[in-house]
């Protein structure tokens, strides 16, 4: 086990800088998920930790040792690839033992490690099969098994579940979580799926366009996002954003009026600098923070377009008077039967025009 420390890590492809000075400190035994949209640099960061991409600037240390110029095999890491990267001409057993056999590891030790990995992942009965004769989930287990036999200090996962169907993804997610508990090894996991990030991570690193936007525990990011990007990325369905402007201010609070809804005024306590009256702001409301009219800080009239019933919960797809789309979460039993309804805003977040959180 080891910690991983990225200090001002920069990656350039030619003249294009794709990672702009990332600082991330991953503790020993921690499960950290890099999450962000396509092209945000999360896989590049992971490949730089693995040594599969050169580091253009900054420093990466694993277990306190700077590894910028250390060969991938000597970094004490093992990686699970998105496409599994299994050797198609070898059996499962050969896939697991290949690396150890090639490096002259003692046969008894190789057998012990392969047997242990197979038992952990429950693939002992598949050992003679070739990858083409395995299901997606089984292939993923073998790929993880190949990482386990290396007995690494750090596991790296590059979108390992993105090729699986929805049901299998949930199943494998639980398996990986169980594996982390069992092995206690440091794990770095890359995904674009915020649900995976929320369910697996001890801490999440949210990336956008090569910048680290925020690092924190899943619920901290959910409850206390630093900016509009993190607020929108974490949570499903995503947070609703409604334009507004400040109509009143006190020493430690502001009153916000929502666009197109003169009667909807929200009072927000602020501990930082209070913006000027008239400043444009964005109010963020999570779908579950809409309540029955009169229950919250302010009421908002909306027109419902579509209702999705998911059993216990329903999602109301609606528009404000100003034409902004909002998603409202409701208990199935409390879904209104009219298209024009008034909902309350029980909790909201305030962002300035640049998208930074006003606290």
């Amino acid at each position: 086990m080891a910690n991983v420390k990225l200090t001002n890590v920069v990656k350039r492809f030619g003249v294009f800088e794709v990672v702009h000075g990332a600082n991330i400190d991953i503790k020993d035994g921690e499960f950290v998920v890099f999450v962000g949209p396509s092209g945000c640099g999360k896989s590049t960061l992971l490949r730089m930790i693995a040594g599969l991409e050169d580091i253009s600037g900054g420093e990466i240390a694993i277990g306190g040792k700077v590894v910028n110029d250390v060969e991938p095999a000597d970094r004490g890491i093992a990686m699970v690839f998105q496409s599994y990267a299994l050797y198609p001409h070898m059996s499962v057993e050969q896939n697991l033992s290949f690396g150890l056999r090639m490096t002259g590891n003692p046969k008894a030790d190789t057998e012990r490690r392969v047997k242990r990995a197979a038992e952990i992942l429950r693939i002992s009965e598949l050992m003679e099969r070739r990858p083409k004769n395995l299901s997606g989930g089984q292939r993923q287990r073998v790929a993880i098994g190949r990482a386990i036999v290396r007995e690494p200090q750090v596991f790296l996962f590059d979108e390992p579940l993105s090729n699986l169907d929805a049901e299998l993804r949930v199943q494998m997610r639980v398996e990986i979580s169980r594996l982390h508990k069992e092995l206690g090894t440091t794990m770095v996991y890359v995904t674009h799926d915020q649900t995976e990030a929320m369910t697996l991570a001890d801490r999440i690193v949210v990336l956008r366009a090569g910048h680290v936007e925020q690092i924190g525990r899943p619920l901290d990011l959910y409850d206390n996002p630093d900016n509009i990007f993190v607020a929108g990325f974490v949570g499903s369905p995503k947070m609703n954003f409604i334009k507004g402007h400040i109509v009143g201010r006190g020493a430690k609070e502001v009153v916000v009026e929502l666009a197109g809804a003169e009667k909807t005024r929200i009072t927000q306590p602020l501990t930082d600098a209070v913006p000027e009256t008239g400043s444009k702001v964005i109010v963020g409301v999570r779908p579950e923070h809409f309540g029955i009219a009169g229950e919250g800080d302010a009421d908002l009239a909306v027109a419902i377009d579509v209702v999705e019933h998911l059993g216990g919960t329903s999602f109301l797809y609606a528009r404000t008077a100003d034409g902004e789309d909002v998603v409202i979460q409701r208990d199935a039993a409390k879904v209104p039967d009219t298209s024009e309804v008034t909902v309350s805003i029980r909790k909201s977040y305030l962002f300035d025009e640049k998208g930074l959180r006003l606290r």
Binding site: A50, L52, P72, A73, D74, I77, A78, M79, F81, Q82, S83, A85, L86, Y87, P88, H89, F98, G99, L100, M102, T103, R146, R150
Partner: protein
């Protein structure tokens, strides 16, 4: 559905007619001719005449021996060389890759007569650059055209020069279809580049190598141009005569079409047999 099929076949009819007349019929016709005595006019049906002669004909066995010798030596050497070329062409370190790919492929598009003339010149006893180079490094001149062993070597060198690049391009295409992350996984497994080649690239390329080998075997069984043009009709004294050349000599010089047809069918049969053996030896384990 039946109507749609009929329409399709009506559109195909012109092609199928030409295919039947110029492809299917010659195959059937030559097979029938192989059972006829064609040295005298009129031809007469004599099943044992050509096939019987084949079994005891020293010229046939000489041509068969030469063809198989070229096959056994030249094909493996050429495929090994093509593999080395493909690995080099696949290297990310190589600059101007497109230029090299074209250069390696170019011999295939060069006219056979032109390249044969250049080879004759290059290997000429007194004026050839090859002998001059041999002299420069202190080796004696070789009379490539008057002795059997150098003449056979010359044929093999020429065929290898012409087709190695072609095979290299096919192997390169196969290599590029192997996903990069398999190699990355091996790199993380501390597997050296050399071991990656022998334990990952070669096994995964096996179907492509077999394809190249089958094409080369068929090509060598039909070998004609090089012994005809470079070593002047299989010279010296039939030392480089191949089955293809024997067929030509019998069919179009002696106008003995029956015997030429028997030789043609023997060539095709041998190519099929060797290919089947090879496919069987390299079959995928279940």
């Amino acid at each position: 559905m039946r109507y749609r099929n009929a329409t399709a076949y009506r559109f195909l009819t012109p092609y199928l007619l030409i295919f039947a007349i110029f492809w299917v019929w010659p195959i059937i016709s030559s097979f029938m001719i192989s059972f006829q005595a064609t040295r005298t006019v009129p031809w007469r049906f004599a099943p044992g005449f050509n096939w019987g002669r084949l079994i005891g004909d020293p010229a046939f066995f000489n041509a068969l021996k030469n063809t198989l010798l070229i096959l056994v030596i030249q094909v493996p050497v050429m495929i090994a060389l093509a593999m080395v070329m493909a690995v080099l062409l696949n290297s990310p370190l190589l600059k101007a890759r497109g230029l090299y790919r074209f250069a390696f492929f170019a011999p295939v598009v060069v006219g056979e007569v032109a390249y044969s003339a250049v080879f004759r010149l290059m290997f000429s006893l007194d004026f050839g650059i090859v002998n001059k180079l041999l002299n420069t490094v202190g080796l004696p001149k070789i009379d490539w055209f008057s002795n059997v062993t150098p003449a056979m070597a010359l044929i093999m060198i020429a065929v290898t020069w012409r087709w190695a690049g072609y095979n290299a391009i096919i192997l390169l295409a196969g290599m590029q279809s192997i996903p990069e992350d398999v190699y990355e996984a091996a790199t993380l497994d501390r597997v050296s580049k050399l071991k990656q080649f022998f334990f990952i690239t070669l096994p995964l390329l096996k179907p492509v190598i077999v394809f190249c080998a089958v094409l080369s075997i068929i090509g060598t069984m039909q070998l004609f141009t090089e012994p005809f043009l470079i070593t002047e009709r299989g010279g010296p004294g039939g030392g480089t005569e191949t089955l293809g050349l024997l067929l030509y000599r019998q069919g179009f010089r002696s106008l003995n079409f029956g015997y030429a047809s028997a030789v043609a069918y023997t060539m095709a049969g041998l190519a099929i047999a060797i290919t089947l053996v090879q496919l069987w030896l390299t079959r995928e384990a279940k």
